[in-house]
């Protein structure tokens, strides 16, 4: 589209898209999110087009590249619409089969479908797959259904009707009130009610009589998290419309998206979407032909975790070192360029258009608590999590707030694989806490997670099984934070480093009497005196594991033993007499040739030579290798 | 009546403040020092310091050109 569109054109555009699609027998939605692209998603799309042409079907089937479906572990994915047949893990050679058997032959290809990892049953359709059944899509409402580079597709799914209504009614105050009543709380970690933040921003702008900015935080520094990237890749217009709505509400005419450098595909899509929105008169001067103007510029972050913190982000945007500052004076009053600045997370922005389209009550109807009069009073709506670690189905899931951890891990995630048992789930990114099995029935929302010594964070969820050492986990996250601390304030800089030294010492078997008290004391000071929330939340992994898995620490210190068999200096491998059949399968793989034994006789490990790599443990089919 | 800088006579009224006098004389320079009789008035108190009738007020401008 190159001409500005007027308000009454939205329906025409939607109708045109639908009419265009109706010319086809169906559509082939090829996932072109980063995950599937890495697994040759682009190639699959090209081959599909080629094959359709070969078979002369190009006028019957429309191939659409979409954003991430959230189930990257089984990518590349192709969904055949309108039936919704879900094909996964496609190889280039599978495309021919798909075309000839399904499209030509009319018979869906079972061997390319998803199987239930437990029962082995075949799930032909997306909604049959347990990974998808409990999901409820708001922020990801368009994932897999539209071409993210096509503004018309977005409009055809109801896009920009919210902006049209809001601009027509022209009551910015009402927009803010609606967002407040919806109970929408920030998805970037803090869980601050978006409406309340907008209202303060607007007030500061009016009091000071100056510009105000809206900013989208797309820094997403949590390791393993990719919610925000996926939203941008699959539905960039949702973020752009959300920001435009926010700008209208608070009175901004300039906005910024701070996006990390490691997200090249998201950046490309974002830039294309911004250009298209500008060309359509939905961004820039005179939106919808009114006198409301709003422009969005992109700032690229170099990828420091701390730059996701609001004041560090604004320092980085201003060209200074990405270091936080004291927030006794809030960013909504003095933020970017010292002007009032409303910062929200990608997912927060993406939730704004549907709320204003369907109303606050609809949104507040999902989730926990009664947020109608007080947004602090619960957690409404849905939340996108990146579910990783020891679960069968890893990926991106959007579930209603208040769903239990058990439902997410067992139903959506399909439970812990390989016959192991669940031990803990770490939520909230590197500075979240570890929640043990005893709390699996806890509803997931902002306040319950905080109460348990963890946090929502931006939605990372790492599942751990019984082969995970919790001291090692704490050490891992603390080390991450030692590297990512900006180093500005003393407790975070020196305190985390000290925590890391003590944890390492414990893992190495040199833990001392008094170490746990020292850990707790340092955690306390780091938590209470750090300048920003990186330091403020950094002790969580240590404190939560100390709380729920203290015995593991004690075993390390007093018995010099790692119960999970992870900390190398504390474990030894041994071959058990009755189980070992003398098959010799372990001999070759052992990197240090530590295993000897005659054929058909019990083998032995030379403890001097063994470097505790665990390979023999993995290869032995008879469970004859024991780790202690 | 009050006298400012031994130069300007300004009619006195109930509740007249230092700030009122400055406004009246259009004294808006940043580096000024105000005294009422012998007493120094801090800038924060201009608005709530009242000027007594018959008082000699000085408004001293600290400026010496470029």
């Amino acid at each position: 589209m190159t001409n500005p569109i007027s308000m009454n054109q939205l329906e025409t555009i939607a109708a045109d898209v639908h009419a265009e699609q109706a010319k086809y027998r169906g559509m082939l939605m090829v996932c072109n999110g980063t995950g599937c692209v890495a697994a040759k998603g682009f190639e699959i799309k090209k081959i599909l087009n080629d094959k359709l042409a070969e078979h002369g079907l190009q006028d019957q089937w429309l191939v659409v590249g979409t954003g991430c479906n959230g189930f990257c572990a089984v990518g590349p994915i192709v969904v055949v619409q309108p039936e919704g047949i879900f094909y996964q893990k496609l190889k280039e050679k599978d495309v021919e089969t798909l075309v000839t058997e399904h499209l030509v032959g009319g018979k869906p290809v079972e061997k390319l479908m998803h199987k239930n990892p437990v029962t082995g049953a075949i799930n032909p359709k997306m909604e049959d797959i347990s990974f998808f059944t409990k999901q409820q899509l708001v922020a990801l409402r368009n994932k897999g259904l539209i071409d993210p580079e096509n503004l018309d597709h977005y409009i055809a799914r109801g896009g920009y009707t919210a902006l049209r209504r809001v601009i027509t009614e022209n009551r910015p105050g009402d927009v803010i009130a609606e967002i407040t009543r919806s109970g929408l709380r920030g998805r970037g970690g803090g869980g601050f009610p978006a409406g309340v933040k907008w209202a303060s921003g607007r007030k500061a702008m009016e009091r000071r009589g100056c510009e105000i900015y809206v900013v989208c935080n797309a820094d997403e520094g949590d390791p393993g998290a990719f919610m925000d990237r996926s939203i941008i890749e699959s539905d960039p217009y949702a973020v752009i419309e959300g920001m435009t709505l926010g700008a209208f509400a608070v009175g901004a005419s300039e906005g910024f998206i701070y996006i990390r450098k490691e997200y090249p595909l998201a950046l490309v899509r974002l830039n294309k979407a911004l250009d298209a929105a500008r060309a359509a008169g939905l961004l820039g001067g005179g939106i919808f032909g009114t006198d409301f103007s709003f422009e969005i510029r992109i700032h690229r972050g170099a990828g420091a975790f701390v730059c996701g913190e609001s004041s560090a982000l604004m320092a980085s945007m201003a060209g200074r070192a990405g270091e936080p500052r004291a927030k006794y004076v809030h960013n909504v009053e003095y933020g970017f360029r010292d002007k009032p600045t409303v910062l929200n997370n990608v997912e927060t922005w993406a939730n704004v258009p549907p709320i204003l389209e369907k109303g606050a009550a609809w949104f507040a109807g999902m989730g926990t608590g009664d947020v109608k009069d007080n947004p602090w009073n619960g957690s409404s709506g849905t939340k996108v999590f990146s579910l990783v670690g020891k679960v069968r189905n890893t990926g991106l899931v959007e579930v209603p707030m208040g769903i239990t951890l058990r439902e997410i891990i067992e139903d959506v995630g399909g439970g812990v694989p390989d016959g192991r048992t669940f031990k803990a789930v770490q939520t909230g990114g590197p500075s979240g806490g570890c929640i043990p099995a005893s709390h699996l029935d806890m509803p997931v929302d902002f306040d319950s997670l905080t109460e348990l010594g963890s946090m929502m964070g931006s939605g990372g969820m790492i599942v751990m099984d019984d082969r995970t050492c919790m001291v090692d986990v704490a050490r891992y996250f603390v080390d991450f934070l030692v590297d990512e601390s900006c180093g500005k304030c003393t407790p975070c800089r020196e305190g985390l480093f000290a925590l890391s030294r003590i944890l390492r010492r414990i893992c190495d078997g040199h833990g001392e009497e008094g170490d746990l008290d020292m850990l707790e004391a340092i955690c306390d000071t780091v938590r209470e005196t750090s300048l920003c929330q990186l330091g403020g939340s950094a002790p969580n992994p240590v404190l939560s594991t100390l709380k729920f898995f203290r015995d593991e620490y004690e075993a390390h210190i007093h018995e010099k033993r790692c119960p999970a068999g992870v900390c190398k200096p504390l474990i030894s491998y041994r071959i058990l007499e009755p189980e070992c059949t003398g098959c010799g399968a372990c001999v070759k793989p052992c990197p240090t040739a530590a295993i000897t034994g005659e054929k058909k006789k019990t083998h032995t490990i030379d403890a001097e030579k063994c470097i505790r790599c665990g390979i023999c443990f993995e290869v032995c089919k008879f469970h004859a290798v024991e780790v202690k | 009546m009050i006298r400012v800088n031994n130069l300007h006579d300004i009619p006195w009224r109930e509740g007249l403040t230092v700030q009122d006098v400055l406004d009246h004389l259009k004294y808006s320079y940043a580096l000024i020092t105000v005294t009422l009789g012998d007493e120094l008035v801090e800038p924060e108190r201009y608005a709530d310091t009242s000027v007594p009738d018959g008082c000699a007020m000085t408004v001293f401008h600290l400026a010496h050109g470029g």
Binding site: A326, P491, T525, T529, L531 | N6, L7, K26, A63
Partner: protein
């Protein structure tokens, strides 16, 4: 608006603080000491050591805050060393000791927190150097806030944080101002070379840092020199009827808002740069306009950096009736580029314009240029002609005195009128203040040795507004002290601006007469002198040093024929209203003077009578002020230094004595 006052309780003690002031100020004010390692009273808070942590309670909610950067905004109770606070401080002190065990400031702070051992935090990063950098950040802030250079900053994340210059190299942009070393609490930054070999570098530094601190903390609430330079007074002069408009006819103009310092700040001046005349000046009032696109002349279309505009430049333009800021910047650029003095150009053009409007000259003389007040394009064309040595520009370039004489010689218009409005003395054009209502400044201008420049004396506010120097003796005293004091700066290559374009916060503790001298700043200069030369200086010595030069300068002026009473007499425009229009524009003022000073009834006089009477009065007043000033300076009534005065000053060269009066 004045900030609110807020009552807070600190350790059971009630104190009142100003809204938004930092909590630490209140704590220190209450006589309570806090351990700190990153707080410096003259720098904005770093808030990084966290040692100043205090516990506060607001509406029943308790929390910890760092006092150094917590702005007080509501009533609260504060505990500066609750158990919770002490516990954290102890641990923080241990962290510091563990990393830098031998740094005296750390040992001292730790002791105050009740800690002497940091072994628990010892690691392979422990640095035994007693002069180690402890990452307090003072140097970084000093480099930025004192002199706006930003040469130093931290690099490395987390535990790898360290102080560095860009790319870890010694940065050639470091100007060696030593601010960083001065504020470093550990001696980690050391000065290895004082290039000018002063006798007592530390004395110079201590007093220089005082100026730095005032600039960093006070300027933004005083004159905003860093943001807008001397242009800050454009609107001030307008408000006090002192901004020259239309060749000094008036002191105000309704369009001044188009060219005032707010406009320059918002649209023109580059901010936060060390735009100073010389390296290390923390005032940096020079200012610059970057990327300005020229519309005329040989560089038309080029984007250039323009040094300025400062106050005089704007005043020169308002004097020509030009209230277009783009014009001002362009005029500024071309005067600089052509090597034309902006003040002479502006005052000269203003004279030409008034002559044009009065019909003394016409387009036949100007080569077709309609040189009315406000004719921006024509002014620029004239300047370009001047540079090319062509046309009417060449004539204007001769200066006001030459033009006056020529036009009078050629019998154009009324000779008296031309003499009255040609604003020059000794052949030099006036600088850009209207001196009409300040007798002292009329003399300050016209008696200045080099011509009507205010760099000997600027007494307008002292005289006209403050009424500090009412008698002829008072004025004479000011005309004695200030020229000598100001001459002294020039003699030592020091700048006048840091003397009085920022004032110490407590300068008001002095009586106005004293306050006008800004005694602490005068002392700074004395200390600079002493630190450099080793010789103690006081006011008397300073005046003696200066008087020798000032008198010599005057003798030179005598030698060249300018050092006489006649040459110290200004054109009437400097003393009072020349034209009817001018009188009528301030009729209330002038009528009032006739009434109160001369006891006349202006109602009963014609306008011509009133003008003539006022003129006679003002001219005679001027003669009296000259008499008094000559006497105070030890000069004859013809304005020539006497032999006695020269001997008193130790000047005994016969050639000089020969020039002197008896």
């Amino acid at each position: 608006m004045a900030p609110e006052k807020i009552d807070i309780t600190i350790n059971d003690k009630k104190v009142t603080v100003l809204e938004d002031s930092m909590l630490i100020k209140a704590v220190i004010g209450a006589g309570i000491a806090l351990p700190t390692l990153c707080y410096h009273k003259d720098l904005t808070p770093n808030g990084t050591c966290r040692l100043c942590v205090c516990e506060i309670e607001i509406k029943g909610k308790k929390r910890l805050v760092t006092a150094c950067n917590y702005p007080v905004r509501q009533e609260m109770t504060v505990w500066t060393s609750s158990e919770r606070v002490q516990k954290h401080r102890k641990l923080l002190a241990q962290m510091y000791l563990g990393r830098w065990p031998n740094v005296p400031v750390i040992q001292d702070v730790a002791r105050r927190c009740g800690v002497t051992d940091g072994a628990a935090f010892a690691s392979d990063l422990t640095d035994p150097n007693p002069k180690a950098c402890i990452l307090c950040g003072h140097c970084v802030k000093a480099c930025d806030e004192f002199i706006q250079e930003r040469i130093l900053d931290f690099a490395g994340r987390g535990i790898l944080r360290h102080l560095t210059m860009p790319f870890g190299e010694s940065d050639p942009h470091c100007i060696g101002c030593t601010s960083c070393a001065h504020v470093c609490p550990t001696g980690a930054i050391q000065i290895i070379d004082d290039t000018n070999h002063p006798v007592d570098p530390d004395m110079i530094r201590r007093h220089g840092m005082k100026v730095n601190a005032e600039m960093a903390t006070l300027d933004k609430n005083q004159c905003c020199m860093r943001e807008v330079g001397t242009a800050n007074i454009v609107e001030v002069m307008d408000r006090y009827d002192l901004l020259p408009v239309h060749n000094y006819k008036f002191g105000q103009h309704p369009d001044t808002y188009k060219v005032d310092s707010q406009v320059l700040r918002k649209k023109y001046f580059t901010q936060n740069n060390p735009d100073a005349c010389w390296f290390g000046c923390s005032m940096s009032c020079a200012k610059a306009v970057d990327g300005f696109e020229l519309k005329t002349g040989p560089y038309k279309g080029h984007r250039v950096t323009v040094d300025g505009p400062e106050y005089e430049t704007v005043g020169a333009c308002t004097n020509m009736g030009c209230f277009d800021p783009d014009f001002i910047v362009e005029f500024n650029f071309y005067c600089d580029t052509y090597g034309i003095d902006i003040i002479s150009a502006g005052t000269g053009m203003a004279f030409v314009m008034e002559c044009f409007e009065a019909g003394v000259i016409t387009t036949a003389d100007t080569g077709g240029l309609e040189l009315r007040f406000g004719a921006c394009d024509e002014v620029l064309e004239c300047i370009h002609q001047m540079s090319r040595g062509e046309g009417f520009g060449v004539e204007v370039g001769q200066g006001v005195r030459q033009l006056k004489e020529k036009w009078i010689r050629e019998g154009r218009g009324d000779a008296q009128f031309i003499r009255d409005i040609g604003m020059e003395v000794k052949g030099l054009e006036y600088s850009e203040y209207v001196p009409k209502e300040s007798l002292a400044q009329q003399a300050g201008y016209a008696m200045a040795v080099k011509g009507p420049q205010h760099d000997e004396a600027w007494l307008i506010f002292m005289d006209m507004v403050n009424n500090q120097i009412p008698s002829f003796e008072d004025k004479a005293e000011a005309l004695y002290y200030f020229p000598l004091w100001r001459t002294w700066f020039g003699l030592h290559g020091l700048c006048k601006i840091v003397w009085n374009d920022v004032a110490p916060a407590d300068n008001k503790k002095y009586a106005p007469q004293q306050a006008a001298k800004i005694p602490e700043h005068v002392d700074n200069y004395f200390k600079f002198f002493e630190g450099m030369t080793g010789e103690k200086l006081d006011e008397e010595k300073m005046l003696a040093q200066s008087a020798r030069v000032h008198n010599l300068q005057r003798l030179m002026s005598v030698l060249f024929g300018f050092g006489t009473r006649a040459e110290d007499t200004p054109p009437y425009r400097s003393l009072g209203p020349v034209t009817e229009e001018e009188y009528l524009s301030r009729a209330e003022r002038y009528d009032g003077q006739l009434r109160s000073v001369l006891g006349l009834d202006p109602e009963k006089m014609t306008l011509d009578e009133k003008r003539a009477t006022l003129r006679t009065h003002r001219e005679s007043q001027y003669q009296k002020v000259m008499d008094a000033a000559y006497a105070r300076r030890g000069w004859s009534q013809n304005g020539i230094p006497t032999k006695a005065r020269l001997r008193e000053l130790g000047i005994d060269l016969p050639e000089l004595l020969a020039l002197a009066a008896d």
